[in-house]
Symmetry: C2
């Protein structure tokens, strides 16, 4: 670590992320600041059926004001294990559970200013839950789709899918599945 932290200010403690500003000293002796968006992290799921189709969601994302394609995903609850989070989010967002789970990797989404780490999982042996999906307020327009894995991969390679976690997870899962 090449910076010395002199002081920390928590500017805003949010529901989704917390804004922190640190006063720091560079090795040169000069002073500056470092801004951090602190996020709890989350889990993301490539959920694959035996016929090589997979679960995808399409939802409006408020910060970019666009509907985009993503894999099912959600934030870690406080102290929650990433695999437990993945199982919970898969059930809530899709209405499916899975009995076979494999960790793909974890990714830092944007480590220059944010500590968010996402845990990517491959889930198989899916079962439809009798209760269906359990969407949160504001998720009601999240569409659930079942698409061929090969089609999702094509949508990534053709530039139709822009969500970083989805690109990472699907291309890495593709490598595992080969």
């Amino acid at each position: 670590m090449n910076l010395k932290r002199l002081n920390r200010k928590e500017i805003y403690s949010g529901k989704v992320f917390t804004t922190i500003v640190d006063d720091v000293e560079y090795p040169s002796g000069r002073k500056g600041i470092r801004e951090i968006a602190r996020h709890p992290g989350g889990s993301c799921i490539v959920a694959l059926f035996p016929d090589q189709t997979m679960l995808m969601v399409r939802q409006h994302r408020y910060p970019i004001d666009k509907f985009i394609w993503e894999i099912p995903a959600g934030k870690l609850d406080k102290g929650e294990d990433p695999l437990d989070c993945a199982k919970r989010e898969l059930e809530e967002e899709t209405g499916y559970s899975a009995s076979q789970w494999e960790k793909i990797t974890s990714i830092y989404t944007t480590p220059g200013f944010c500590d968010e780490e996402l845990h990517l999982f491959l889930a198989r042996d899916l079962k439809k839950l009798p209760g269906g999906r359990r969407l949160e307020e504001g998720e009601q327009t999240m569409e659930l789709h079942i698409l061929p894995f090969a089609q999702v991969k094509s949508m990534i390679l053709s530039g139709e899918i822009h969500d970083a976690k989805t690109i990472c997870a699907v291309l890495l899962a593709d490598n595992k599945l080969r």
Copy 2:
């Protein structure tokens, strides 16, 4: 768009990102908030030599307090074209210029709470600049490495590289180069 914005508050206007909190109304009539980290976006470069090696940086990332592997990248200046940003950042961070440029795609790093869009480029026909690198304050410990493209890909597949933009850019470039 399934939310109506009632009010916007700019909580903190930072050097790197701005924290915004909107009061919103859901289709149900209930009210809530949406928190946004607004970021200018940036450009990222897979810079490839004719011998199939590429430029990589290894640097300490303050929010996660870790040294990680990444491709060269940087933020867009106000009004800057993404390709101009990519050319500038490649020169500043690596001391190389490139005369052949190709857009790979653009990615949203974490669209649930942040509008950051990164533009991924493949750069070839690299030339070492006489002036060398021009690092900013706080970047002095950023190491520059030249690694085989195939090795970087292996480091991604083995879980040694965790930076999302790097995983997206290298795996997508790999597909282009095949």
